[in-house]
């Protein structure tokens, strides 16, 4: 039914932002506005290519590029669409946000101004590397791409170059590199174990590896899966490998946080799903292990998000928690479980980047991000407040927003699989999330400022380009909640590319 077709789109989708990165960095030094222009052009080009890819994949094609090296099926198309779809609003948001003097470092705005071309260069490179990881079919290159996203984003995390962001940057680079080395080890083992059965380069192709998973010696398979979980799991923020996440996601500039929490950890979850699910049909017990991992992650993230005062750290821990749902759904291993997992991936990308951008708008207006400093902003910043609450309701799974549908699907899948304990943990964590985000919303937008430094009179609503970015994402959260069928064709095909293995 599905046919492979070579397409240049598979290359354009990541080479376009990569080229824009180079231009933004080089020409941005001549004029700063050029860096911003190329950032927008690169993001728009990537999104256009992604839409083109999705349209062709929906017609039943599997796109390839550079021979068998690049391969875009529905799952890849979903991720590509998600990365570029969050990428463009985040880029739009960063134009005004990164120009804002008060946020820049104490060395003086001029110094940071000079670093802006570098910022956009790395930002676009970060987008490009994530996209590359989602279209490659080579397991070694998948590792290379995932590590490249760390390299590209390391200096973005440390961008403000103060004590906190440097600490976050150091931990980010160190922990992720050590973690991902395990994934390299696993990839090499998998490749080596497959070489006797697959000729030459084919042993590196993920699409070919599936067929030989059952031939790989059991002991080797166990090591491969364990190392993949440590490696890509670290990057995906799965507990107990998550400690880098709240630091990095909180200290990075807000649009970068939106990308880190909104899509980067999704891309790692994609890498994990792509690789470990090839063993699902062979090893049943693996699915239970993945469900337990997901439940632990969601509960830990949920509890930790309750005790945060810093808004961005709260959101970051909530991301850990939401990744738990994604992993759990994947672990059910059924069609419905994987469908729910991918739906949740899509929902969380929109909702969490919306929340990070809304908090970014609050920071833009007040330079503060702790609940203990803020308060009473609702009347001064109505648009931001509405956007924040849409994101908050979506993430806690209230109808009619996107999170309700995705969580419901995961819970149904759990019930169908008879894993009631997992469903219980999921519902309980939903409640924790609801408490955490509503408490935050109440603290920020109601009452009066809790710190004397902040006077409400001086607070202005964020500029229109920031609303536009937030509004687009809020629209997606609402659309997916009210009319979830819109995502069905792509999600269905993407689900089949994983769950199809398990006999559905």
């Amino acid at each position: 039914m599905e046919q492979s077709a070579p397409s240049a789109l598979t290359q354009i989708v990541f080479l376009a932002p990569a080229a824009a990165a180079l231009l933004a960095w080089l020409l941005g030094r001549v004029r700063r506005a050029l860096a911003e222009v190329f950032a927008l052009v690169g993001s728009v080009a990537a999104l256009a290519a992604a839409i083109g890819i999705a349209a062709r994949v929906l017609r039943g094609e599997i796109l390839t590029g550079w021979g068998p090296e690049l391969r875009v099926d529905a799952l890849s198309a979903l991720l590509v669409l998600l990365i570029t779809g969050v990428g463009l609003p985040a880029t739009l948001f960063s134009i005004r946000y990164m120009r804002h003097r008060r946020l820049l470092d104490p060395d003086g705005a001029d110094v940071t101004d000079k670093r802006l071309p570098g910022f956009y260069g790395l930002y676009l490179l970060f987008l490009a590397t994530m996209l590359w990881g989602c279209v490659t079919n080579n397991i070694i290159m998948l590792y290379v791409a995932v590590e490249a996203t760390t390299i590209a984003s390391g200096l973005l995390v440390a961008f403000y170059w103060d004590r906190r962001s440097l600490e976050a940057g150091y931990k980010y680079l160190m922990l992720l590199t050590v973690g991902i080395t395990f994934a390299l080890f696993a990839s090499v083992l998998l490749y080596a174990a497959a070489t006797p059965y697959l000729p030459g380069v084919n042993a590196m192709l993920i699409s070919e590896l599936r067929g030989v998973a059952s031939l790989i010696p059991r002991s080797v398979a166990i090591f491969v899966v364990a190392f993949l979980v440590v490696g890509f799991g670290t990057k995906a923020g799965i507990a107990p490998f998550h400690p880098w996440l709240p630091d990095a996601h909180a200290e990075a500039p807000s649009p970068v946080s939106a990308l880190l929490s909104g899509v980067m950890i999704k891309m790692a979850a994609y890498a994990l799903a792509r690789t470990i699910t090839i063993f699902f049909p062979v090893y049943d017990a693996l699915t239970v292990f993945v469900v337990v991992l997901g439940a632990f992650t969601m509960l830990l993230g949920g509890v930790m998000s309750l005790v945060q005062d810093d808004l961005k750290r709260l959101l970051a821990y909530s991301s850990v928690s939401q990744m738990g749902y994604v992993i759990m759904g994947l672990g059910f291993g059924t069609y419905l479980g994987v469908y729910g997992s991918l739906f949740h991936l899509l929902h969380h990308a929109a909702a969490k980047s919306l929340l990070f951008l809304s908090v970014g708008a609050v920071i833009y207006a007040t330079s503060a991000r702790s609940m203990s400093q803020l308060g009473g902003l609702g009347r001064r910043m109505p648009v931001t407040a509405v956007c924040f609450f849409i994101g908050a309701f979506a993430i806690s799974g209230l109808p009619p927003f996107s999170g309700f549908m995705s969580k419901l699907t995961i819970f149904l899948a759990g019930a169908q699989a008879g894993m009631w304990a997992a469903v219980g943990v999921g519902i309980f964590t939903s409640l924790l999330t609801l408490i955490a985000v509503l408490r935050a919303g109440q603290a920020v937008f109601w009452g009066t400022p809790r710190s004397g430094d902040l006077s409400l009179e001086s607070v202005r609503e964020a500029p229109a380009s920031l609303w536009l970015a937030m509004g687009a994402l809020a629209g997606v959260c609402l659309l997916l909640g009210v009319y979830p069928q819109i995502a069905y064709p792509l999600l269905h095909k993407a689900t089949l590319s994983i769950a199809g293995l398990v006999g559905y």
Binding site: A158, L166, A168, V178, V188, L189, L190, A193, T195
Partner: protein, 223 residues
């Protein structure tokens, strides 16, 4: 087919190589630790050359290792050590106990991997003869690198630990995936160098803002 590997040479180089990791971990002078690391990288080049007797593609690997691991990485390390000072921040464990721990790790892990490496061996060739020694050595260096990252407070020292880890991976590829294409290998090696450079760059920033490379001072962010 029997390839005339110089078993004695390979085993000698492997043993010296393990000792260089202990030296890199335990030396409290960072310059000397970097030098030990550089020596290890050169030994890896030598080892890969010895293995190249059976597979001429490995000459490219040896060259890649020489450029990225024996030249660029030590150069970056020394440059940044000159900025941040060559005396290491004392580790979590004292020098004496640490040497004991490292030696015990070394001996027991080498024994363990050399005996049980078949559970991890993807193919029979990967653990035949000298390839078995190679894999055991690589895994031992890997564990010593992890030990360095976990037990050292000095940020630069943790980077040296990371370098050991990556050396181990590079070395293990000789046994595990000798047919891997050069492009993939060069990609992996290049990324490691870039990561190390970025880490040192950030650590230099920390040194500038905080005045130390002690990771225990980095406690602004927790929970």
């Amino acid at each position: 087919m029997a390839v005339p590997y110089n078993t004695e040479l390979i085993e000698t180089l492997s043993m010296i190589l393990i000792i260089t990791s202990v030296a890199a971990v335990e030396s409290q002078n960072l310059k000397r630790a970097a030098a030990a690391y550089c020596l290890q990288a050169l030994l890896i080049c030598g080892l890969i050359l010895a293995f190249a007797a059976g597979n001429s593609a490995l000459y490219v690997w040896a060259l890649t290792a020489l450029i990225t691991k024996a030249i660029l990485t030590p150069w970056f390390l020394l440059r940044y050590i000159a900025k941040t000072g060559e005396q290491e921040v004392p580790a979590i464990v004292g020098f004496g106990p640490s040497v004991v721990i490292a030696s015990v790790l070394l001996v027991s892990f080498y024994k363990l991997t050399h005996t049980y490496v078949h559970v991890l061996a993807p193919t029979p060739e990967a653990i035949a003869g000298v390839f078995r020694t190679n894999l055991a050595v690589a895994l031992t260096v890997f564990v010593l690198g992890l030990y360095a990252i976990l037990s050292r407070r000095d940020a630069i020292k943790t980077v040296i630990g990371l370098c050991l880890l990556e050396n181990a991976v590079h070395l293990s590829l000789v046994s595990l995936a000798p047919d891997m294409r050069e492009t993939a290998l060069i990609g992996i090696a290049t990324e490691v160098v870039v990561t190390v450079y970025l880490l040192l760059y950030v650590i230099a920033g920390i040194h500038e803002k905080v005045g130390t490379t002690d990771t225990y001072e980095l406690a602004e962010l927790h929970w």
